[in-house]
Symmetry: D2
Subunit: 282 residues, 4 copies
């Protein structure tokens, strides 16, 4: 038996679930997990189905689904659950998010392959080596920005990467890259968006005297800090906490929120409807 994960997105109309379930039965499939959502504002229908079957020819499975669903012209994703998504993780000098991802990956909690780690600084090389993941330093200066991204693109190709994780990567990616990898770059913002955008959010939070600080994992678009939100969380802070304490408390939120978001993306549980995400997680 093999397991498939099928994702489907199209304009809602009667018959989509019937067509899908007819196709799955025809393939000899048994549904293990199914989530669907119709967005009442846009009328967009999204579905994620996981099923088991003896039909191990993914090409045939995909063809059958494409044929039976052709009427609805869906955006269709078909993959074997065991063929895990491949991620490239980017980091600068703060290593807490990277360390968390590597630790959880080693524990078997993140069902994905970490193809490589890329950084504009050498600091995290030892951490990468400890976990046996290829580490590539691509320094970035005002002058080398274009070349650096060419080098990055080359790595994305050679490592056959499905999505990018910015684990506190402090450089801005070009609009072209953001566009080419639309819905496939996950960033952790060290603030409860739309709270404090831009630089030094924990210092802003301190100045404002907030009683909760947070972090936000979101897809990257060319519009900085405005991409679709995947997950967020907060932690309570008191008046006695200084900016350095907020940074320290924030680290904990950042690493757990990013780890949750990466898991959701790796399992194809995140659909995009406009600038909003639909999260399929029971």
């Amino acid at each position: 038996m093999v397991n498939y994960i099928v994702t489907l997105q199209c304009t809602d109309m009667p018959g989509i679930v019937r067509a899908t379930s007819v196709a799955i039965v025809a393939i000899g499939g048994n549904i293990l997990e199914n989530d669907q959502f119709t967005d009442p504002v846009t009328g967009e229908f999204c579905m994620r189905t996981r099923f088991e079957t003896e039909a191990d020819d993914i090409g045939a499975v995909r063809s059958r689904l494409e044929r039976d669903l052709a009427t609805f012209s869906p955006k269709l994703g078909v993959r074997l659950e065991d063929e895990r998504r491949r991620a490239l993780v980017m980091v600068s000098t703060f290593d807490h998010c990277l360390a968390e991802l590597l630790y959880r990956h080693e524990q078997g909690e993140l069902p994905l392959d970490i193809a490589a780690i890329v950084s504009n600084h050498p600091d995290c090389a030892a951490l990468a080596e400890r976990y046996g993941i290829p580490f590539h330093e691509i320094p970035v200066t005002a002058n080398t920005k274009v070349d650096a991204e060419i080098e990055l693109r080359s790595l994305l190709d050679s490592f056959n990467v499905d999505f990018i994780v910015l684990a506190r990567y402090m450089q801005v990616l070009s609009p072209e890259l953001c566009s080419d990898f639309s819905g496939r770059i996950v960033n952790i913002h060290h603030s409860f968006l739309p709270g404090f955008k831009g630089a030094r959010p924990y210092h802003q939070a301190y100045e404002r005297g907030v009683k909760l600080i947070g972090a936000t994992a979101h897809f990257v678009t060319s519009d900085l800090d405005e991409g679709p939100i995947i997950d967020q969380d907060v932690v309570r802070v008191s008046h006695a906490r200084l900016p350095k304490d907020l940074i320290s408390l924030g680290r904990d939120v950042e690493r757990s929120v990013l780890a949750r978001a990466v898991k959701l993306v790796a399992e194809d549980r995140v659909a995009l409807v406009g600038n909003r995400t639909v999260i399929f997680s029971q």
Copy 2:
């Protein structure tokens, strides 16, 4: 157009979703919301589907679903969304849970009819009257326990009640009533089960020095405090909080947890698999 809520439960096997969606399309239905879960331990399949259609004959809709799903011998529920569930609320002297339910009901947040309020004390009569809900006092003593329950049964019949809410009702119902209304009596226990069972849980919590207190909404079975859990929540407490403070903080948790649980039951979002609940809520 009318909306239907269909719930379905049976042993999992291939074809259930197909059969259901075929039937819904045949009825001219369009699925608005669909949730399903297959319990990997017991192999039980549960589903809740909400769809719209022009077919306003509920008898015909039910027949079609029964026929198409007959192979699976499901426990099947079919109702019009607008025909709201009818609840009878029982209370003793503490009125905070009752007040919360009445307030939310008035705000339009609880899609159910509160058919009547029953109490073993007269204290909440004024509150019931304020909201225009029939109030029945049924005193209970050691000697009148049997008669009291006969009177209660008579009210349940005459008010055509779907389910009972124990909103801090301090009397124990008979095993027969618990059994006859299995999965249809919701209780709020003033503790984070299985933390502190029995009497005076907040005093027990104080003695034990816990840092979080909670409340649990659960279905009632004849096995006290052991019924299937619907929802739970907690609130942080410090060493400075005395038992009376815990009671006060606990009230807030009790009323919000009970209100959430009642809403879930009123919308048929709670399925039972053994002693565990499956909650269909996106």
Copy 3:
């Protein structure tokens, strides 16, 4: 025995705690509760002490404290715990925050006197009457704004009000009133500040696709939504929640956050250091 609440604020220097505790012992006092905080950024020292004594002459107690603490030129507050703060609550048409305050007040959870309720609409008159609190309608239009505030000032005087609670009052108070009642007007903002300022924050939250929504209780300054934050909280929301659902979920957060903030202010547990609050609550 009587209980006093003493609050004290001045520039930090050695000897303040000694001077205070010497004075309290001289008065025959025994400290029941003591909280203090030195702000490391501004060097401001804040303290709140609750003590019991047989000295029931508040004038004498105040004099002794003033004399012993004169060196430090503190802002000093001395009150009998039983002489409760007097609040005036302002509301427009949404009654959930007012209902919550009145209910908790009746339950004995808010140690303050609700002197009167003022509204620019008649809608909440019945609710006020039910709890036996004087209700004053002061309509506000562009033309009557000045007169309306004169009428409000007159009520604040005649009811001898210590602080004002804006329980979803939808009118903006004049800069003069904000200034005269600086640190004495509590507002509930229906958003997790600094998230969504201005109008229709829940609709903004929906558009942005946030995964948590919140509410913020803060002191009012003439700079709208920028006053010192007293308390905040959030609740998790899914993609399936529409703006009307966010409004409904937000109501719960608003009423609990406002109730907590009002209790803190009523018990003199909130000190102001610049635009930040110090919360004395164990």
Copy 4:
């Protein structure tokens, strides 16, 4: 300038704060942080004060405090803030709590010295080595239990250990050791006490169908799982989570709760009143 942390515990009576603050001023001290609590049930007074002074002779400081406070016969603790507590961490095979402590320690978030790591298994040796902490394997069998504890005692002596952290150590310590290190052994229990005691709590939680799972850090007494609670936390779980998922989610709660508890103990922020803890943390 040096910083002192003074902790004090005695029966409450008027004059303690005065005596302490008089002594601190006499030493040339300026209070940086002060927390106190009088337990209303037992009448026990607890205080923690952090102050700076030029008096760097700790013997003289301690003498002065002892003399001025002699009337109250307090349990008195005096230490230089820079002389950090020394902890010995014990672990079996699950390494997540140990990994978290070592990571936070390296990040500068845990102000203590990790003197050594002791395990009844060799599994964590590599992790200890990576962080440069001495690792001692002390195997424990039914026959070697007494000898193993003798070896442990010898390590506690030679490493001059202030307190022990059981970071998922799966052996039971002898009543004698629990008693000798009363209030100085911190354990993480993988359940929300008093929820599920004993073995396999996550499997118990699954069977019971709870909607929240948690973890509890507590001091160890000879009465298993009944020692004073230092901190607790919970995380929400759905019906779809299997025991293995609960274990995985529980790991996150365990490591954050234990890390918080160890920090509190390392900073002398935990006082014991009977079987309850008083936590001094603003």
